[in-house]
């Protein structure tokens, strides 16, 4: 304020020197300061403090606005066409990819030999979210599966090929499915439009199959079932229905490597991992869940649910009744959803005391309001060795979720031939019973064989009671105790031993050195081959 006087006294002489501020004619000739204050004229003329700050702010706001709008158009380069410059500020002889730059450069358009004179548009871009899909698919999980596709093992045809121990598919009881296959399809049944969420007939069969898996303790209501094309789309649809973009699900790790894709790709829902440790035998700890929940909330992330796998994937362990109650209470307390992934419910191969308990059993003991948070994902492909049929199911206690997912199944339907195939294959109760029994026996046999083989090599596995895999502890075999060491070993398996396994890092296990072996693809003879190959990769002999 003390300066004011001085400036005023010099007003007469300084007038001609002012270069800025002359635009604000309203200000008159009193603009004298040496200092250049933006829009001084206007400011002095009227509002002072208010205008002096409002005007720059407004400009700034418009600048932001302008930048924002331009940004949407401008970074359209797609990664595949790197030779086009993307920045609009690039040198004039650079062929811009945006239509803006392009139209300024009509003189140069001849240099683009393929472009007709009329063509003003550059390369058209795909959506940002589709572009982000390109980045996925480089994880060892996908790399391994791809390698197997290129060079698959075959006992007689290609004995040097890579053995698939990564993909969770079950070949043990395939003969059963085809033996019993008395398919009766009639055209009007399979060709016309049918409810995309599944025929009632099929739903009843699936409900029965699910009950069978719980040893008929729980009876599932076909009306609460929605059939989808595979478990992947079941999880996709559930993520859409239960969480908004930017919300998150808690997922105890190690978890199925597919969750990332199913939850995130289309729905923009985040996954927050809750690590379990080998010292707890990879058990889910509710305290850890709670802690992670609070941390997420502090960060401003809204957690909408928790996804559990039971039997767990990759460990194959079963959740106890107490654990399920604890998880249920946690979900109730935090008012979040529970998605229970029970796709291996029919593949229990453990001892008699290893009992599979569905979350539905827990939910049935609760009052209606609380049930609504429970959703089960089921898949016919794993239990029935039918992945090619692409049939999965959502079983939900929430009416809104059922209504919404029914509509969404038009976007990932089960085809009617598949539905009728399934009905005719599995509708006989005696078939289901014998099938489930045989499947369990075979899984059990191959599992014990496989684990024994690993043990002979000095590899311990965690106790697995369900699912198609075992979770092997190879911490002693990795060169450095880190993800890098783990991937090195994985590479050795793939390149030297020629077997494809899933490294723990794909399952987001925080301890390096764990591997998932899927054994249900193998015959007993193969187990020996695999054993030798593992030995070869580990001991180089």
């Amino acid at each position: 304020m003390t300066h004011t006087g001085i400036y005023r006294s010099r007003s007469g002489t300084a007038d001609s020197e002012t270069s800025v501020g002359s635009g604000g004619g309203g200000g008159g000739g009193t603009t004298v300061m040496r200092v250049i204050v933006p829009l001084q004229g206007v400011v002095q003329g009227r509002g002072g403090l208010v205008l002096g700050s409002v005007i720059p702010c407004a400009f700034f706001y418009f600048l932001q606005f302008y930048l924002k709008r331009n940004r949407r158009d401008e970074p359209e380069p797609d990664p595949a066409n790197q030779n086009f410059a993307s920045s609009p500020g690039s040198e004039p002889n650079n062929l811009g990819s945006s239509s803006l730059t392009q139209s300024e450069l009509t003189g140069l358009s001849r240099s683009l030999s393929r472009v007709s004179p009329r063509n003003s548009g550059g390369h058209v871009s795909v959506s940002v979210r589709a572009n982000s899909l390109h980045k996925v698919g480089d994880s060892p999980y996908h790399v391994g599966v791809k390698r197997v596709e290129e060079d698959p093992y075959d006992e007689s045809g290609n004995p040097e090929g890579i053995i698939e121990l990564g993909l969770a598919q079950n070949r043990l009881s395939s003969d059963w499915v085809s033996d019993e296959n008395t398919i009766g399809l009639s055209l009007s049944e399979i060709a016309s439009y049918e409810p995309c969420d599944g025929l009632m007939e099929l739903k009843m069969v699936v409900a029965r199959l699910m009950s069978e898996a719980t040893k008929n303790v729980v009876s599932f209501d076909p009306l609460q079932l929605v059939l989808t094309s595979g478990a992947a789309s079941a999880i996709d649809i559930l993520s859409f229905c239960l969480a908004d973009s930017g919300n998150a699900f808690l997922v105890p790790t190690p978890c199925s490597p597919g969750f990332d894709v199913d939850v995130k790709w289309r729905n923009g829902v985040e996954i927050i991992h809750v690590p379990c440790r080998s010292s707890d035998n990879f058990n889910i700890s509710v305290t850890a869940l709670d802690r992670t929940f609070s941390q997420a909330r502090k960060r401003g992330v809204r957690v909408r649910g928790i996804i559990i796998s039971n039997p767990s994937n990759p460990m194959g362990s079963l959740l106890s009744r107490e654990k399920l109650y604890a998880i249920f209470d946690f979900a109730r307390e935090r008012n979040i959803h529970i998605i229970s992934n029970e796709i291996f419910a029919g593949s229990i191969h453990g001892d008699e005391e290893a009992e599979f308990i569905s979350i539905a059993e827990i939910a049935d003991t609760e009052e209606n309001l609380d049930k609504e948070r429970v959703h089960i994902v089921y898949d016919l492909s794993k239990d029935l060795s039918f992945p090619g049929l692409r049939a999965g199911a959502i079983y939900s206690f929430n009416e809104n979720v059922i209504a919404a997912s029914k509509k969404l199944t038009t976007l990932s339907p089960v085809s009617s031939p598949s539905q009728h195939l399934l009905i005719s294959t599995i509708s006989k109760p005696e078939f289901i019973q014998t099938y489930v029994k045989t499947n369990r026996q075979r899984l059990k046999r191959i599992y014990s064989e496989f684990v024994k083989g690993l043990k002979g090599l000095g590899i311990e596995c965690t106790r697995s009671n369900g699912g198609l895999f075992c979770w092997a502890d190879m911490r002693g075999f990795i060169s450095s105790y880190s993800v890098k060491g783990e991937i090195e070993l994985w590479n050795k398996f793939l390149n030297i031993g020629k077997i494809n396994v899933i490294p723990g890092s794909c399952c987001h296990c925080i301890e390096p050195g764990w591997f998932r072996f899927c054994f249900s693809n193998l015959s007993e003879k193969d187990v020996l081959v695999v054993r030798n190959r593992i030995r070869k990769s580990l001991y180089n002999m």
């Binding site: 250049i36 204050v37 009329r118 390109h134 031939p417």
Partner: protein, 496 residues
């Protein structure tokens, strides 16, 4: 001077203009940031009661907090629909017409499905169905060839067969490259996946209206892409014009929405007219000019019965004059082969990234392998396909003539059409008031009095009231007089 310039001290001390604007800007920026962070989350679920808010977390240990909520984007999906198209379809389900058992039931004219050539299909299926599922390369049946995981984008054999089939029904002037193809579980997922890949949430597609009412669901439900109708009028026989496109495009731009593509059906659904070569070129030029995508839904390409020739967008873009990568074609077997239950569709795109992204997304909606096996043998049986396609076209033509003639005798005209399983009927003479309300009243009357479900134009975003889409290909010849009689009665009662 008395005037107060903000932070003058600082300004005079040092930077002048720079600091003088920087500081208010910074302050303003932080204010924005503050406001943004403090902004309450959007009210997520208006349908839920707020009952729970009074109970607080404090006492809730082991206690129920209340109902758990579904995501706010799922709420509109879960709500009962308000589109007349779906209302009609639901109503038919409750009381379907049957020639013998339920003669008073509602006749379905709302669903584009065809039973015209079921006899041919029936014959083929009974002869080849099991064989096609069970067959394998070495002649021996191997269960793993149908039940195991296969590439989600479709078996290569199927894509080859599909490409062949498409070029066959499109007159043989174009050839399709199987590597540009992704097989989807029907046309519906194909549209959705394309929308996901071509536009981001909040972007928009231009779409000439009237358009297929299912697009609303298919596209908007999950991808969040908007559809901006480009209104076409009966005076042009509902053909889209570039000036209308231009105008709508500019309006959309002005409103600040980003248009990422133009989507249209050819043969159009619901009108059934076929776009000429010139119109297709104009659309492509327009898209090139604006640098947007072109999605051509050609799902009725094989159901062309008029004199007008069907031209695929692939043919236009194949001339070499245009940039191919912006063109995407949707095709499916539901309509042309009348096997909607098989859920087999295809995305054909010239854009490599789109093909790659769609391939990955097929994880969620791929075609079951046994179905793929059936389709491979069905589509590669060229003799059958020839026979079928000829019969299919001929029978639609006959049925179309029968239906349109019937309406004509009642004094109800139809728009000129050359393809599709439906006709676009002008019932404005039956309207009590020439407005959307009048049309919906007529729809309701058709449904409950005449017991006919036809799709009203408003469901298709038609700008002129009184138009209805009637699908006639699931009707038997003897059903048509029944329908005409019902309409006649309705017309009499409304005119009198």
């Amino acid at each position: 001077m008395r005037l107060i310039v903000p932070l003058r001290g600082v300004i005079q001390g040092r930077g002048g203009l720079f600091v003088g604007s920087l500081i208010p800007c910074c302050l303003f920026y932080f204010l924005q940031l503050y406001l943004k962070r403090r902004r309450p989350p959007p009210p997520s679920d208006p349908t839920e009661l707020t009952r729970t808010s009074s109970r607080s977390n404090l006492f809730s240990r082991g206690n129920s907090i209340g109902r758990v909520r579904i995501s706010s984007r799922a709420v509109p999906v879960a709500k009962p629909t308000d589109s007349a198209y779906y209302i009609g379809l639901e109503r038919v389900k409750t009381d379907p017409y049957d020639r013998i058992t339920n003669t008073d039931g509602i006749i379905q004219l709302g669903l584009a499905e065809s039973t015209l050539c079921f006899d041919l299909l029936q014959k083929w299926m009974s002869e080849n169905l099991m064989e096609s599922i069970m067959q394998s390369n070495d002649g021996e049946f191997d269960i793993s060839s149908i039940v195991m995981y296969k590439p989600f984008e479709g078996l290569l054999e199927l894509r080859v067969a599909f490409a062949d089939f498409m070029s066959r029904i499109m007159g043989g002037n174009v050839s399709f490259d199987p590597s540009n193809m992704v097989i989807t579980a029907g046309g519906t997922p194909a549209i959705e996946v394309l929308a996901f890949c071509l536009a981001d949430h909040g972007n928009a597609f231009l779409i000439p209206s009237p358009y297929y009412p299912g697009f609303d669901r298919d596209i908007k439900f999950r991808t969040g892409v908007e559809l901006i109708p480009v209104h076409c009028r009966s005076s042009d026989n509902f053909t889209v014009t570039v000036s209308a496109l231009e105008q709508t495009y500019n309006q959309a731009r002005k409103r600040g929405s980003k248009v990422s593509g133009i989507l249209f059906s050819n043969p159009s659904n619901p009108v059934g007219n076929i776009l000429s070569r010139e119109t297709l070129r104009d659309i492509l030029i327009f898209a090139q000019d604006k640098n947007i995508h072109v999605i051509s839904d050609e799902i009725f390409a094989g159901s062309v019965y008029g004199d007008k020739e069907f031209v695929s967008m692939a043919e236009i873009v194949g001339s070499g004059e245009f940039d191919k990568s912006r063109v995407h074609i949707i095709y499916g077997l539901s309509k042309d082969l009348s096997i909607p239950g098989f859920r087999a569709g295809v995305i054909y795109s010239f854009h490599e990234d789109v093909v790659n992204a769609a391939t990955k997304l097929m994880r969620f909606s791929s075609v079951a392998v046994p179905v793929q096996r059936i389709l491979i043998s069905l589509l590669s049986d060229t003799r059958f396909i020839e026979e079928y396609m000829t019969a299919h076209r001929q029978r639609i033509r006959d049925k179309h003539i029968l239906f349109v003639e019937g309406l004509k005798q009642l004094g109800i005209p139809c728009a000129e059409s050359g393809g599709g399983l439906y006709c676009w009927v002008d019932m404005s003479s039956l309207l009590t008031s020439y407005s959307e309300k009048g049309e919906l009243e007529l729809f309701e009357k058709l449904l409950s009095v005449a017991k006919i479900n036809a799709t009203p134009g408003t469901a298709c975003y038609c700008i002129e009231p009184g138009w209805f889409r009637c699908c006639f290909t699931a009707l038997a010849d003897e059903d048509i007089p029944v329908i005409m009689e019902r309409i006649r009665k309705l017309a009499e009662s409304s005119r009198s």
